[in-house]
Amino acid sequence: MALRLTARPTTAGARPGRGAAPARVATRPYRWWTPYVFMGPYLALFAVFVLAPIGYGLWISLHAWDINVPAKPFVGLGNYRELFDSGSVEGPRFWTAMRATGIFTALSLPFLLVVPLFVAMLMNGRFRGRNLYRAVYFAPYVLGVAVVGLLWRFLLDGNIGMVNHYLGVLGLPDDIQWTTDTPAAWWGLVGVTVWWTLGFNAVIYLAGLQDIPAELYEAARVDGAGAWHRFLHVTLPGLRPVLLFVVNATLLASANMFGQSYLITTGAPADETKTAIFLIAETGLRRFEMGTASAMSFVLALALMAASAVLFRIFRERQEDR
């Protein structure tokens, strides 16, 4: 990638040693409105379905808003206050769901970060069929959560499920109620999610691993570093650029978990595994209490953005340490 010349008309004159070309390109070869025509269709979509909804959502959250009730009185921060009021109906319900989201994220994150890294390091060697294995581990990810949920609801069934059957074959307890009991349900949901999305993180790790110069490993080896030290001092630092992306993307994906719990546990037992997204969708789009649902989604979004911010902070500090 030696020639990284961008052809932006304005900077064209600054290029050294490129003959007569710059003078020619320096005149802007398009009308002032041309770029806006190029941008137009996308910007229209963006304005209607991303930009406007952000403001609209905030506005809705300040009202008692039901799609079927014409009167939508302004309630100020009332919806938010209700969420933080333990005596209200919505408050405890919301925090139970936030807790579910938190539990799932905390349980799944370590596995979703470590297992794919292990897989990626295996795949990073040179051996025949490497691309085939890579394709196998990625395969479940191209299936939708609907297929994955349906399939695992069957496999995790307490009575006729294959998982319990093989646990029994191995002499382990074979009557675990994966879909209706906690903590078993949590482990079921985490396991399914790891099976489903492992390939995504592994592929991104792999791209990161391939960007680490081989010389660094050679040098470490010459210095007598063992495998563990090479991992700590070459692999991990080399992965930093993708690591932040992977951690952040995984955190957000886990915190947005919906389909697994909708299809596998349906929130059972007693809403214990009903995640925040699940509750928001039900509240806003089934019960049409849109003011409350919007307030919930802003609280959740704020929590997620705070978590991301902390993450970026940690990574930046680590970087400055070096």
């Binding site: 190029f38 196998v136 609907a146 609801r153 496999l155 009575n159 059957h165």
Partner: protein
């Protein structure tokens, strides 16, 4: 042509001269796997040890890969069983008797028109991918190659929304789609999701890596911007466009939460939403559920098998944006 990078990147060339020579050069016949070569300082093992490790690796990887895909195989098997067999407590890996009844039932059902869902999904995902390409491509090109007032602000705004948790768009977008009278119709599935920033961001990154010389040459030949875009840039961008189209199609095909709430009547559902309702209505008919799941999986798995490399490369490049 900047083709999609294949598995072995140029960067991985110098890495492992050791690894590479070992299996290629004619080696003495396998010496009982002893780590005799380990005395060479800095080397991980002699050729024989290396070969043993390699076959062990293949054994482990092969077994794990088979286990990894076994749930999908079981899904297929179950869809070919009779009702009684599918619900048996003793799971069997071969359908006995083999029957297509489940498919016949599922495809012929009037209250769950699976064939209609299939067509809806196909239509929606195709239209969505086309819309993403049509809007994101010119926008990304303008952002990468043109200079105009507000470019910085627009780009920053678009990128910033990548960090906004999408949950806050859920309720307001439902109301906007409702205003447009799109609830319970396919445009609701096709259009709003195309406003996401990913496509623009992804393509802009790609356009920035294209060398500008061809565009300059076309400019000197008197092409206007639109002609340059259509005749020069689009053909060069084909790999990125195909990748984006594939990822958009897959994402839309698999989308679950939004269709589940925005599509209502049985004949307008997409497959994931339909399957979820189907599970509610047939919750112990695992033969039927697995047949439905197979029908939903086959198109994406086929697409994946054909275009595996593009999908994986696309995903791994999306991770390097950080």
């Amino acid at each position: 042509m900047t083709a999609v990078r294949s598995g072995s990147t140029p960067a991985s060339g110098p890495r492992t001269h050791e690894d590479r020579t070992a299996p290629r050069a004619p080696q003495p016949p396998r010496r009982a796997g002893e780590r005799t070569g380990a005395r060479r300082p800095g080397a991980a093992g002699g050729p024989a040890a290396r070969r043993l490790r390699r076959s062990l690796l293949h054994l482990v990887l092969g077994v794990v890969a088979a286990l990894y895909l076994s749930p999908l195989l079981y899904m297929l098997t179950t869809s070919l069983k009779t009702r009684g067999e599918a619900g048996a407590t003793e799971p069997r890996w071969t359908p006995d008797p083999f029957t297509l009844d489940a498919y016949r039932h599922v495809l012929g059902s009037t209250d769950s028109p699976v064939m209609q869902w299939f067509l809806n999904s196909l239509l929606a995902a195709t239209a969505h991918a086309a819309l993403v390409l049509a809007t994101a491509t010119p926008a990304a090109y303008a952002l990468a190659r043109m200079d105009f007032r507000g470019r910085g602000v627009i780009f920053a705004g678009v990128v910033a929304t990548l960090f906004v948790p999408p949950v806050i768009l859920l309720v307001p977008n439902f109301l906007i789609v409702n205003e447009l009278a799109w609830v319970d119709t396919l445009p609701a599935i096709v259009v709003p999701a195309a406003a996401g920033a990913f496509g623009v961001f992804f393509l802009r990154q790609f356009f920035l890596t294209l060398p500008g010389e061809l565009e300059e040459a076309a400019e000197i030949d008197g092409c206007n911007r639109w002609q340059i875009f259509v005749r020069v840039v689009l053909p060069l961008a084909r790999p990125a466009l195909v990748t984006l189209a594939l990822l958009s199609f897959l994402t839309n095909w698999n989308d679950f939460l939004w269709p589940l709430y925005v599509l209502l009547s049985p004949e307008s559902l997409t497959l994931p939403a339909g399957l979820a309702n189907f599970q509610g209505a047939n919750n112990i008919r695992y033969d039927l559920l697995m047949a439905g799941a197979v029908i939903a999986s086959v198109p994406v798995l086929l697409l994946y098998v054909v275009a595996q490399r593009w999908v994986i490369e696309g995903v791994s490049r999306s991770g390097l944006k950080g």
